[in-house]
Symmetry: C2
Subunit: 270 residues, 2 copies
């Protein structure tokens, strides 16, 4: 099944636009995991089991795995989601970007080794750095457009012929998206910008990080970013859900926070 | 020792500005490696042994390792270079770029897990996506500026207030480089652009991919990119050296091609 169809079904099935980001930092795990052989795998597994009926997707951030030599945990977690909760897509947050011959290897990493359904990519090296991923017709790609970090302004806000660079990126990705595989990453912190991009790209899905720990306003994100079908958004929260409690009730607290976030999104949505 | 000092010594010691890129693609290896338990490690080791007196640096491309689940080979190769040929820096070509909390994990991946001396990064997310790497004072960072692939034009050539985006990136990196840890990646295919960047950033080191298989003109690169000390360049060739022969003489052929390239650089340099 194509990624965009998988996502559509997932939005519908759980009635949710919430994505839970899997950024496992062992130093933040509850005490009990210090005795575990594979703390990253088991911590994430409990988070997944506690939230799978509340989300439209999961987004593991590869840096958290690779910095800990935990590639096997990442493989097993994605396999676990696909097997135990079929239909929930996994977006591998990798922000890769390189020339075609190298991008082919990165695509293999994301889609064959890790079996992700979708990957995040950087636009800086242009279309031919994205093409190798499109060779996997069932997979999706979210391209960085506007990021919510302070440094996001350094280049993304530069004026290019009367509009900021990120708008040029949005226009290009919309133009490139003939196979309906692509979407955009747009941070939650600037709703006016989400609105501006939605106006020029009504059909693209936006992956929106930055609600939760990063402080983005859910209502403003939904009101400005939603498409004509009241979907078109994958709203990500990582730390606020994963580390809602540092005690033994962490999974229950994660569920509660995920439910709160999903409901806040739906309240703004309908 | 700081990366820029290590590189300076390495330029001097071997009288070379040549960097050999380690892009190990097992399907291109000579026949004998099909029987090896760790073909990637042993192929690269033979390349390194055949070229270590001719280079200023090695640049493993991480995608070629991660697509093959060969992280252990990468760790062991970098350790082999550091142990057997001390003083030759290893630049991990990773082109990472993410928010600070994630960049910290990528920095850990590059500098602690893999023990690279330097890493390549993408500028799109701005200064705070680079800061975590600067926390390792002995390490270096090359930031993507102008890339030699066709898609490099898509965004890097956009006009920003009278000059292309890549010039803005060059100016920003030059401004950020207070600790002398940073350099720029500039493709070999557009010498006029190398010249323009050298004029505004006389002190930055340029990592220049694109000679060899990608067809960049060595003489033009050296004449336009060299600094006042007749250094300031790390000129990378990967495929043209690694796969100079597909027979059992591959290491000898790699040495010959590396020597030819180093000499062509030095001919233009002096």
């Amino acid at each position: 099944m194509k990624f965009n169809e998988m996502l559509q079904k997932s939005w519908d099935k759980n009635g949710s636009l919430l994505c839970v980001g899997l950024d496992p930092a062992p130093e933040k795990f509850p005490e009990k995991f210090s005795n575990f052989d594979r703390p990253i795998f088991y911590f994430c597994k409990e988070i997944i089991d506690a939230t799978a009926d509340l989300v439209c997707a999961y987004k593991p951030q590869i840096a958290y795995f690779s910095s800990c030599s935990a590639e096997e945990d990442l493989i097993d977690l994605i396999d676990y989601i696909h097997t135990r909760y079929p239909g929930i897509p996994v977006i591998l947050d990798a922000k890769r970007g390189d020339i075609g011959s190298t991008a082919m290897h990165y695509a293999r990493e994301s889609f064959e080794r890790f079996q992700a359904d979708c990957v995040t990519l950087s636009p800086y090296m242009g279309k031919d750095s994205i093409d190798p991923y499109l060779q996997y017709p069932d997979k999706g790609e979210f391209i960085l457009c506007r990021t919510s970090n302070k440094g996001g302004d350094d280049f993304q806000m530069l004026d290019v012929g009367g509009e900021p660079l990120y708008m040029k990126v949005a226009r290009k990705v919309d133009e490139w998206n003939v196979n309906k595989q692509m979407g955009l990453v747009i941070g939650a912190t600037y709703p006016a910008e989400i609105k501006a991009v939605r106006e020029i790209a009504p059909d693209l899905t936006f992956l929106v990080p930055g609600v939760g720990a990063q402080g983005g306003d859910i209502e403003a994100v939904v009101k400005t970013g939603i498409n004509g079908y009241r979907t078109g958004l994958v709203i990500n929260s990582s730390r606020a859900i994963l580390y809602a409690s540092s005690g033994s009730d962490f999974a229950e607290a994660a569920r509660k926070e995920a439910k709160r976030t999903r409901d806040a999104i739906n309240f703004a949505r309908f």
